[in-house]
């Protein structure tokens, strides 16, 4: 039982990292209408940017800011150089998915070519481990969870209380109508790429901190978990993504306490399949 309690705590940490990435992904998808499978590659790109900063003896948390900037710039460039031109030519959704898949491989292989195939680690003090009723969490994990809460609250504030957030929602709902209402949709979309790219950079860095050791391929499976969280919550639903992240994160870790650990992702995705079978639009998606 104590292992299950510990696993629940570990699941919360996984959920925290997953939530930052999933909310960024779903926000990007919702506003830009691009299912950007290169999101994971942008994450690992950001993680390596933070690594480059960290190996200079600078705090990884400063490195995370550099990763956010790098993720934002890379995402804006991806949109301007690749996605937007394809969209202008009215490429089909499956074409866009394949394009994003190609970008994933280009970015990952590029990072691997530069960084080598060797796993690396940040120089970061994990701090002491706290034991709260069987929940074993170290200081860095608590920081990551706090960071996730801040990102979630900031996302809520952005969407609900700011002009930009309202413009993003309007653009997501109906781009043409938003344009007719005076919203500069293309500018909103560019800003969305920048904001969600920064979230990818942050997610990549906290994931790499959490992993302890990472390489250019470390987000491969994580991207699938992001997709699972997003579709479990309902695509385009930031709060759904948060909920999906918590369910996927916790079910993954807790199941490992009861079954052979290499099946833990099977359990997580079974949960996804069952939920989607019952509610195809996702937990917070709208019913037809």
């Amino acid at each position: 039982m104590s292992l299950a309690v510990s696993a629940f705590g570990f699941g919360l940490v996984t959920a925290a990292v997953l939530a930052i990435a999933s909310v960024g992904f779903t926000l990007q998808f919702g506003v830009t209408d691009v299912l950007n499978l290169a999101f994971g590659a942008v994450m690992i790109f950001g993680a390596f940017v933070a690594y480059l900063v960290n190996v200079q003896g600078i705090s990884v948390w400063i490195g995370m800011l550099a990763a956010m900037a790098a993720g934002a710039v890379l995402s804006v460039l991806l949109n301007a150089g690749v996605y937007a031109p394809f969209q202008r030519r009215r490429a089909s959704p499956i074409t866009m998915v394949i394009v994003s898949l190609g970008l994933t491989l280009i970015i990952e292989f590029g990072v691997q070519a530069l960084a080598g195939g060797v796993a690396v680690s940040y120089n970061v003090n994990q701090g002491r481990t706290f034991d709260a009723g069987g929940l074993l969490l170290n200081a860095v994990e608590l920081v990551i969870m706090a960071l996730a809460v801040v990102v979630m609250l900031a996302t809520h504030a952005l969407l609900r209380y700011t002009r930009l957030g309202k413009a993003m929602r309007a653009t997501a709902a109906n781009r043409a109508l938003a344009r007719n209402c005076g919203i500069r949709a293309s500018r909103v979309i560019t800003i969305t790429w920048a904001v969600t790219g920064a979230m990818a950079g942050m997610a990549g860095t906290v994931l790499a901190i959490d992993l302890g050791s990472f390489d250019a391929t470390s987000t491969d499976l994580f991207l699938i978990m992001i997709l699972a969280a997003v579709f479990l919550g309902g695509p385009g639903q930031p709060y759904g993504a948060m909920l999906g992240a918590v369910i996927i994160g916790i079910s993954t870790e807790v199941s490992a306490a009861f079954i052979p650990a290499d099946y833990k992702y099977v359990i997580a995705f079974l949960v996804l399949l069952i939920m989607l079978g019952v509610r195809p639009s996702g937990l917070l998606g709208e019913r037809t």
Binding site: T26, D33, S92, F109, A173, L211, S213, T217, F231
Partner: protein, 462 residues
């Protein structure tokens, strides 16, 4: 909080997008299809694919190719460069001394991604693009089962670094192996536990074919040795964290963890074990695959080099660390420092990487066989590999390609004994070595701290 719906979410419920877009269900279907594609394409690797010619020796019309068919990306990405370093070392010496019958040797990397499914097209592409292929090295446990039959069908001689037991009693005429079966290495791991006096051991092996091959024999040998297995954790090497597995290990209170999980898996696991064990590392007994610069660099970064050095033992094949054979190997390898693509970390660690040592021997054996038979056709020279390795009555022992080639020129029978020690091929072309116990120093240098006798292994077998 109020739930906001961004554009495509509405369509996710089946509605069409207001702008006449397509149902997001299509996107969802695309996700399902491409997610599996992402996993297939990146899950086990994500690294570069295909092959690239070695830049160290420019191909000429008479040049022959030695192909390093091994993982260069994915969890086992450290293996390919290790073998490539030896290939560069061996072929540089061979080329500097006239090559084989006037042919120089090139090294070519073929990335299998550590996946049997990826390995087959990679090898097929190798044959399509390399008419001058003379020898294959590498073929680790990750891909051997799928590529050995192909290479054998093409009648190409190969030296494989696979311990898979299926090759113990299946005859592939062009297959040669200088490493023992995995089950013997599993016994070696347990023998180390015995030597160190451990009574409680946790197992944590990766879910790849090569790593899982150790689990069954290790469990049986632990039982035979009277050692309690506290838990057996299988690590999904594509996973991101292993906290629950680490906690299961820590809470089972083992005295040591027996492991092989390559890529980021073991460094991550060890880091998490240390965190969950109050900052104290649980001693580790690793396989020979964990004696590599890549593993040391990653694991030392994850748990700290002094901590790793103080808590790590691994089995390793016995290789020479002094004498003329070792000196020739060392000189050849170090001459290529900085020249081998994809090689990072402490280059000197390759001097004690068993795979690298034995494949250096394999290349020398093949090259000498080509000289002896005066042919570069594998069906002609391959039988001479055994004659040179095992020697014939009256053969002169020689420690390097240069020394052996000189003796061959004099018309003498030779027995090559390289840094991997003497060979003794059986009917299946297997020549199994002896094991030693290695540790790391805090700088990453490998130290030999003991040996495992054949009697100790026999006591744990069966």
């Amino acid at each position: 909080m109020k739930s906001f719906t961004l554009g495509p979410a509405a369509a996710a419920a089946g509605a069409r997008r207001p702008m006449g877009g397509r149902p997001v269900r299509l996107a969802a279907a695309a996700v399902a299809a491409t997610a599996s594609l992402v996993l297939a394409a990146c899950g086990s690797s994500g690294g570069g694919s295909g092959s690239s010619p070695s830049p160290s020796t420019s191909a000429s019309s008479g040049a022959l190719t030695v192909a390093d068919v091994a993982p260069f990306s994915g969890p086992d990405a450290a293996l390919g460069p290790t073998y490539l370093a030896s290939c560069y070392g061996a072929t540089s010496v061979i080329n500097a001394h006239g090559g084989v019958d006037g042919h120089s040797l090139n090294c070519k990397s073929v990335d299998t991604r550590g996946d049997p499914a990826d390995a087959v097209p990679a090898v097929n592409q190798l044959y399509a693009s390399t008419p001058n292929l003379a020898l294959v090295i590498g073929c680790t446990s990750d891909e051997a089962a799928s590529v050995v039959p192909i290479i054998n069908a093409h009648k190409t001689a190969m030296f494989c670094m696979t311990g898979q037991s299926e090759f113990d009693h299946v005859h592939f005429p062009y297959f040669y192996r200088l490493v023992p079966p995995d089950l013997e290495e599993a016994y070696a791991l347990v023998a180390i536990a015995q030597k160190l006096g451990y009574k409680r051991i946790a197992l944590a092996f990766g879910n790849d074919i090569g790593s899982q091959a150790f689990v069954g024999p290790a469990i049986a040998a632990l039982k035979k040795a009277g050692i309690t297995m506290t838990t057996n954790q299988t690590l999904d090497e594509s996973a991101n964290t292993f906290r629950t597995e680490a906690e299961a290990i820590v809470s089972s209170h083992p005295q040591a963890v027996m492991t092989e999980a390559l890529g980021t898996a073991d460094p991550t696991l060890l880091s998490e074990i240390k965190q969950l064990n109050g900052g104290k590392m649980i001693p580790v007994i690793g396989t020979s695959a964990l004696i590599s610069p890549a593993f040391f660099k990653a694991a030392a970064a994850a748990v700290g080099a002094p901590t790793l050095a103080a808590n790590f033992h691994a089995d390793n094949l016995v290789t020479e660390t002094s004498g003329p054979a070792y000196n020739a190997f060392k000189s050849a390898l170090l001459s290529q420092q900085g020249k081998v693509p994809g090689v990072t970390g402490n280059f000197t660690t390759y001097l004690s990487a068993p795979g690298g040592v034995h494949l250096y021997d394999g290349i020398n054996l093949a090259a000498l066989a080509m000289l002896m038979s005066k042919s570069t056709t594998p069906s002609v020279y391959a039988p001479d590999i055994i004659k040179i390795g095992d020697g014939v009555p009256g053969a002169t022992v020689c420690p390097s390609f240069v020394a052996c080639a000189a003796l061959l020129k004099q018309g003498k029978a030779i027995r090559y004994e390289g840094p991997g020690g003497p060979t003794s091929f059986d009917a299946y072309h297997d020549s199994t070595g002896l094991f030693q116990i290695d540790t790391y120093s805090a700088s990453g240098a490998v130290n030999v701290v003991g040996n495992i006798t054949t009697a100790q292994l026999r006591a744990l077998s069966g």
